[in-house]
């Protein structure tokens, strides 16, 4: 029992098995006992036996799950101490003969080499001894008989002896293994020591030479070594193949007898042969593809281009020979010829291509300007010369944006930076519609497409293609003029009709007219009003479609505009007997908006007018506030409202005009809301139907940009 166990030692697999079998035996054993007691009707003993079986079971679980002897030991200690105290104090299970089995699980832990197991084992032994002595001396009388206690002691001692020898056996096995290991290591070391010894210098040298030969013979280039008498001393496999000879036959033969050398088609005289020069001058000579260096093999008559390097071999600073490395350059030569031909034809193609491009540039109707990487003009085609009045010679070397003045379509000068090469490079692809000033001072309308030109990734300049749109712009202007004249022409007769009817209805010449006459005139008056409104709507739609709506965004006092519209509509409102309320936005700082005053009025007249049309009693409310950093105006009416399925038709352009089932805007073109929304959008806001319910009224709202954004 001197075996030292390490705390927390891992369970070793070898003894693991024994332990598991041991625990299992305990479980089976005590379960049988408990069954026997229970059958006998001894409930108490039965429960005790089950408890012991359970202890074994827990032990087994701990040993397999935790794989750590200390945890298992701690548990065993906790589980067994109260159990022992129970037995010793009550003696309730006398004559069961089980006492001697109790140390088993604890011993099992010790068995595994735990310090705690050892402590527990000694503790149990002491208890047994104390009980035994107490019994002998009669100090403390347990219900156990002396025989039983003796049995327990004996079994305890026997068990520990068994464990002791088991451990010892384990130890000696361990020792044996360690010794074997040592022996093997020693042998290995010796083996290592023996290696490296016993090799002669000669064999090492042979090895090196073999290695060198292997390298030389597997080279792709031919290799020749000649001595100072020009005799071949070494030839590799490639050289044998190239020259069509065998090593054995040519060793000792003079090199120039194997092959003649040519340069530029002429045979090289012996004294000028490269190898001779190397031997005489002690320099390295290299021949390249361009040298046109050829070998003519005498035996076969084969001639082939070569490239070579020939280097002198020194011994005590004297030239004793030369090494020549050479290769058949037939393929390279052919490739070179092919490349040269390709370059020739490519050059021709390129020239052709250039001429073609030039012809295109010279003859196209579009102006073309090329600049270099410094932003200077390198080429201007005749079309641009004609367009601008400047010629190529004048513009060459100048900066495009600095030389030619540009204006926007409203004839404001454009800063040169905006049309510079730098701008073109930044934009990558730029299309601008602008006016250029001709040399004579006149302005032409153009569309300039500019793009940077790159060769591989190098920026080499900017190309500008200039399309003359002066005629288009003039046509546009004519269209605009036609529009304003047409609208004038349409409005004038209409306004005369309404104006005169108005005057008549106001009482001019009234005396001769009956009530019926006046009613007819009133109908005509209403019809004319509608016609004027429709013409206005159609003109607005056309302007919106063609982007020719005239408007000017300015700082406008929204409160003032709303109040003036309300004031204008007041007679109508009062006539219908309804109310209208409006309060200017709470914070006067936010009443300034960026809008076109006329468009804003149109929107208000449309929204309030609609509400008025569809409200018979109650109050129309105009609320004025802020929403998402915008001025926010709501028109709320308690009128007839709009059915859900009709709401989505409200802002559709022609849907409404055709769909008469939609009562809203009856009598108009049905375009009013569409136009109002477009107007709001043109000014940077929007217009929506917030909500509406049949019979309960509608809420329309629109937003406008604030002059001073809310922080």
């Amino acid at each position: 029992m001197k075996k030292k166990a390490e705390d927390g030692a891992e369970i070793k697999t070898s003894s693991d098995y024994a332990l598991k079998i041991f625990s299992l035996t305990g479980i089976v054993f005590f379960l049988i006992f408990s069954v026997v007691y229970l059958l006998k009707g001894d409930l108490f003993a039965g429960i005790v036996e089950i408890t012991i079986a359970f202890t074994f079971f827990l032990n087994l679980i701990f040993l397999t799950k935790h794989k750590n002897i200390d945890s298992a030991s701690s548990f065993a200690l906790l589980a067994l101490i109260p159990f022992y105290l129970f037995i010793l104090t009550t003696g309730g299970i006398a004559n069961t003969g089980l006492f001697w089995l109790h140390p088993f699980p604890v011993a099992a832990l010790y068995f595994k080499g735990s310090k705690k197991g050892l402590v527990l084992s000694i503790f149990l032994g002491l208890i047994l001894v104390v009980i035994f002595i107490f019994k002998l001396l009669g100090i403390y009388v347990t219900p156990f008989s002396l025989v039983e206690i003796r049995q327990a002691l004996a079994s305890y001692i026997l068990l520990n002896i068994f464990i002791y020898f088991y451990q010892k056996g384990n130890e000696s096995k361990q020792k044996l293994v360690e010794e074997k290991e040592k022996e093997v290591n020693k042998r290995q070391e010796e083996l290592v020591k023996t290696m490296g010894k016993g090799k002669t210098l000669e064999s090492q040298f042979e090895q090196e030479r073999d290695k060198l030969n292997l390298i030389i013979n597997s080279m792709g280039e031919g290799l020749l070594v000649v001595d100072k008498d020009y005799k071949i001393r070494m030839i590799n496999h490639t050289a044998e193949l190239l020259l069509g000879v065998k090593e054995k036959k040519v060793l000792g033969t003079e090199w120039h007898k194997l092959a003649n050398a040519y340069i530029g088609g002429k045979e090289i005289p012996f004294k000028q042969r490269v190898s001779i020069q190397v031997l005489n001058k002690a320099v390295t000579i290299q021949t390249v593809l361009e040298d046109d260096h050829y070998y003519l093999v005498k035996s076969s008559g084969r001639k082939f281009p070569i490239v070579s390097v020939t280097t002198p071999i020194f011994e005590d600073s004297k030239v004793v020979g030369a090494v020549k490395v050479f290769s058949d350059a037939t393929q390279e030569k052919e490739a070179k010829i092919l490349i040269e031909e390709a370059i020739k034809s490519k050059t021709k193609e390129l020239k052709y291509e250039q001429q073609r491009s030039h012809a295109i540039l010279e003859n196209t109707g579009e102006g073309v300007i090329l600049t270099n990487d410094k932003g200077k003009i390198t080429y201007v085609n005749p079309a641009f010369e004609k367009m601008s009045g400047y010629d190529n010679d004048y513009l060459s070397g100048k900066d495009f944006s600095e030389t030619i003045k540009a204006y926007d379509l409203k004839e404001n000068e454009i800063p040169p930076a905006q049309i510079s090469d730098a701008a073109a490079v930044t934009a990558e692809k730029q299309e601008m519609k602008l006016m250029l000033q001709k040399k004579e001072g006149e302005k032409i309308g153009v569309i300039i497409n500019s793009a940077p030109v790159r060769s591989q990734t190098n920026f080499i300049g900017v190309v500008r293609v200039i399309h003359d749109v002066t005629d288009d712009l003039q046509l546009q202007q004519q269209k605009d003029d036609f529009f304003s004249i047409a609208s004038h022409e349409l409005r004038t007769p209409l306004s005369v009709i309404t104006g005169n009817l108005d005057t008549v209805l106001a009482g001019y010449g009234k005396s001769q007219m009956t009530k019926e006459d006046l009613a007819l005139l009133q109908d005509s008056m209403d019809a004319s009003d509608r016609l004027i409104k429709m013409v206005g709507d159609f003109l607005n739609i056309s302007r919106l479609d063609q982007g020719r709506l005239n408007y000017e965004i300015r700082q406008v006092d929204a409160c003032f505009v709303i109040e003036s519209v309300v004031h204008e509509l007041m007679p109508l409102i009062e006539n219908k007997g309804i109310k209208l309320s409006y309060t200017c936005i709470n914070d006067p700082k936010h009443k300034m908006v960026l809008v076109d005053e006329n468009l804003l009025k149109e929107i208000l007249i449309n929204l309030i007018g609609n509400s008025l049309k569809f409200t018979d009693k109650g109050e129309i409310k105009i609320e004025h506030g802020l929403k998402d950093n915008m001025s926010y105006i709501k028109v709320i009416d308690p009128g007839v409202g709009i059915a859900k399925d009709k709401q989505k038709l409200l802002f559709q352009r022609f849907q409404q005009a055709m769909n008469r089932t939609l009562a809203r805007e009856a009598g108009g073109t049905g375009l009013g809301l569409y136009i109002s929304r477009e107007f709001a959008r043109v000014m940077g806001g929007d217009l929506v139907l917030e909500e509406s319910e049949l019979g309960k009224g509608s809420i329309f709202s629109f937003t406008l940009p604030l002059a001073n954004s809310v922080k």
Partner: protein, 130 residues
């Protein structure tokens, strides 16, 4: 009675304004076109001129400039009454000396007399009794 000269190239439009104003007790004279307008400014000696802009030569702007450059007529209140609704046109006319700029489509013919009276009375408070 307040004397109003209407300078307008379209006779039907001129007549419309003429009748409406006469009905409202104005003394009205119509000039068809700019040249006639310039003549009648001197012969009729109106208290106020309603001047159209879009007319054949000379157009309303030229007529305005001529009236304003003649010392005899330069003090005459001139109201531009036109179909041109651009802000630019309005500013231009006001800078040349027009006293008001009215767009035809936004002037209700019923209100025209009152609007003219406002101007004339402001200019000549002694006429208020009219």
């Amino acid at each position: 009675m307040t004397k109003v000269l209407i300078v307008e190239d379209e006779d039907i439009v001129a007549r419309m304004y003429e009748k409406a104003l006469k009905f409202n007790n104005f003394e009205v004279e119509v000039a068809i076109g700019g040249n006639e307008g310039l003549e009648k400014v001197k012969s009729f000696k109106p208290d106020l001129v309603l001047l159209d802009i879009m007319m054949p030569e000379p157009d309303g702007m030229e007529v305005l400039e001529k009236i304003k450059s003649d010392p005899e007529t330069s003090g005459l209140p001139i109201v531009m009454l036109t179909n041109l609704s651009g802000k630019h046109d309005a500013e231009h006319a006001l800078s040349k000396g027009a006293i008001e700029y009215w767009v035809k489509s936004s002037v209700d013919i019923k209100d025209l007399g009152g609007m003219i009276n406002n101007i004339v009375n402001e200019k000549h408070p002694e006429n208020q009794s009219n």
